[in-house]
Symmetry: C2
Subunit: 427 residues, 2 copies
């Protein structure tokens, strides 16, 4: 769907259509992998399914501190009519009992201890009384298998434990260790070139002469890229110049999975970016202008790497520091997720967990025909979470610092009323 701007010119497309265009024309390349220690695997993405090489547990274990018994011996036991069992030693942690249990016998056992042959359940200490060193009273029956885990109950040899495309969490590190898997194959982090353009921009450690400003967008992009699982590679600042930009893009193609350009907020700079992307080769610019505020001047393109015969997505992000972050979240993050090898389900989960419900502390108005993303702060009050829109001129640094996320006014709505429940997308 093409959206008409305020003067009736149709020049921009919706967010959904922009993403669809890119998805249709960008075949995911083969992703490189590497083997790493599970200690280093937090937040990395598995490059293959994890299939259990063994049964877990590999021996029948107790899940309680108590006595291993034959369950049938305890049937009918009550406080009034206790069952008497002979204690035949203890199952020592880390070993297998050297003796099987016969009828009428019990063996002391701790949580995690190995059940002796002949036993099929564990009576908790609480339901036993010692009579003499060799005899206990049992005052409650146990069912067969009660308070035990049998061989393979947790994981069976050959079970798929984790899937390709899963992002490793702390508990997965524990699961892998349990199975004796010390190293895993993960996808390499997608190398993301960050190129800043703009005649007015200078490095952070330079003192600006009047009229110039420091490059700041490359820093938020560095943080966002790392957070999204990419490996940011900053390429520095280049002026708004066709030849310099073209050389910079061509230099970045062969060792990048993705290229982000930022700056060049003026119309002339955007034209240069679009021309360079088109001239480098097919398919070139896919999207130039989206019905999103802030972020309207966004360019999305695909350029070819001859050396690696694959396509590289290129994003021409606006110069406005708020728009850069919003465009990253809406357009770049989903592409980075694919390039990082994340399964679609994992991507979905990560997105929905980055959203919280809150009530709007102030009404928002918006023009129809564009999707508006309003930065908000969050306040926790006794009656719940409140989202407070941050107004002010476009592109202020203070907006960024105060904001923890955004609220979206959809394409065809003219606003959201105070007190309405909204989804706050955190960034």
């Amino acid at each position: 769907m093409t959206v008409k701007d305020m003067l009736g010119r149709s020049s921009v497309i919706t967010r959904e259509d922009a993403l669809k265009k890119l998805e249709e024309q960008f075949p995911l390349p083969a992703l490189d992998t590497e083997m790493i220690s599970i200690s280093a695997a937090l937040n990395r993405v598995l490059a293959g399914d994890i299939v259990s090489p063994e049964n877990l547990p590999e021996f029948n274990r107790s899940t309680m501190d108590g006595f291993a018994v034959k369950s049938a011996d305890t049937f009918g036991a009550t406080e009034g009519r206790a069952v008497y069992l002979t204690v035949v030693g203890e199952s020592v942690m880390g070993t297998i009992p050297d003796r099987a249990l016969s009828k009428g016998e019990a063996m002391k056992i701790a949580t995690g201890g190995s059940l002796p042959d002949g036993s099929d359940a564990v009576v908790m200490f609480e339901f036993t009384h010692p009579l003499d060193p060799a005899t206990i009273e049992v005052v409650k029956p146990v069912a067969p298998l009660e308070n035990t885990i049998q061989i393979g109950d947790d994981i069976r040899k050959g079970d798929r434990v984790l899937s390709r495309g899963h992002r490793v969490r702390p508990q997965d590190m524990s699961a892998l260790a349990s199975l004796g898997i010390a190293r895993v194959s993960v996808f390499e982090r997608p190398k993301t070139a960050i190129i800043t353009t703009g005649n007015e921009l200078i490095p952070v450690d330079a003192t600006p002469s009047l009229g110039r400003i420091r490059d700041s967008n490359s820093y938020s992009l560095e943080g966002l890229t790392a957070d999204a699982g990419g490996l940011p590679v900053k390429k520095g600042i280049i002026p708004d110049d066709y030849d310099r930009l073209r050389k910079s893009l061509e230099d970045a193609i062969d060792d990048s999975a993705l290229i982000l350009l930022t700056g060049g907020s003026s119309a002339g700079a955007a034209d240069i970016t679009a021309k360079v992307i088109n001239d480098i080769g097919q398919p070139g610019v896919l999207v130039h202008g989206v019905a999103v505020k802030p972020g309207k001047p966004l360019i999305i393109g695909l350029i070819g790497s001859k050396k690696k015969s694959k396509l590289i997505p290129v994003f021409g992000l606006p110069g406005n520091p708020v728009a850069v972050i919003i465009c990253f979240e809406l357009f770049v993050r989903p592409v980075l997720a694919r390039l990082a090898g994340l399964a679609p389900q994992a991507t979905l989960e990560i997105t929905s967990y980055r959203t919280v419900k809150a009530r709007l502390a102030r009404s928002i108005s918006s023009k129809p025909g564009r999707e508006e993303h309003i930065p908000v702060s969050l306040e926790e009050k006794s009656d719940g979470l409140w989202a407070r829109p941050i107004f002010g001129a476009s592109g202020l640094i203070t907006t960024l610092v105060k904001a923890v996320g955004t609220v979206v006014v959809p394409l065809n709505k003219i606003g959201i009323e105070k007190n309405e429940e909204v989804d706050v997308r955190l960034f």
Copy 2:
């Protein structure tokens, strides 16, 4: 509040009381700091307030593409009664115009461009028509300051931009760069010693003989510690032996901010841990047993480092791999947040953002007198998010792999009904 267990013995305390005991007796030590590049500052905690060294912007800027004007010249302009202005050149990006604006004049300007002296507003291109190369028609008035940002409008020299204890986000990296702050002072990550105890435990790359299992908890603790802003330092596996454990703790004291012990799930092992913590010195064990399931055998202690004359918190975590994660989230994460230098507000925010609302897909029952934490998976359906409790024997690895968080049944409730809305605390 002391809670009686199922046999009426009072032996465990509530989660709140356990945390309060630790907070009361643990004075936060002076935290070490380091200077780092803002490129490396993502998720690090600021050790001091950030005060702006300059005004932002340092010159009056346009926020639109258009013409810089004297706003008074445009008052009363309409499509029918346009105002004619003489175009006197262009404000070139990255420079200050060499000429001031006089009455009846306009200067072409791009977003981010510097306003010429004498101008106080910008008319957007959309509301102008070129008449000849040197003249434009303006068809809509602008108010004074409209479409501009004046010196210091965004940030004023001396303003506090970010506070001590704030965790750096991508947008903060951008804000710091804008102000020319290339390096920041952050708190060092708290070194967290992870010691595994248990005669039955072997390293992940060893093949277990029957009755033995691999150390897996040290890996989830490694991941959780890193995620919580700590620096995990694994100290290996030691047997359930007083002298070995004492030596291991004494070795760890001087270069750790925090010590985590895991394993030793049997009652005997816990007794050794408690004795070692008490013998090393005052105040020793503060908490032994909490009214939390799973996690009841938790030990919390404070031991003194003679060399650094400060107290180090020690947690004796249960051996159950699910309990380890739940105890970390409930008890260790808040302490790590303090040791990492996070401001209380930042800690609160992080906790509330790690919580999502969902409806319960199955009823849960619980025994009163303990706070029960039920691992759940989440499913996104057309009618919203559903939390599905994961049942099964205690301490299964599969529980960990399937779970994305927990639902809490409070101390005095006996369960939660299906379809009820619950808070899912993600882990």
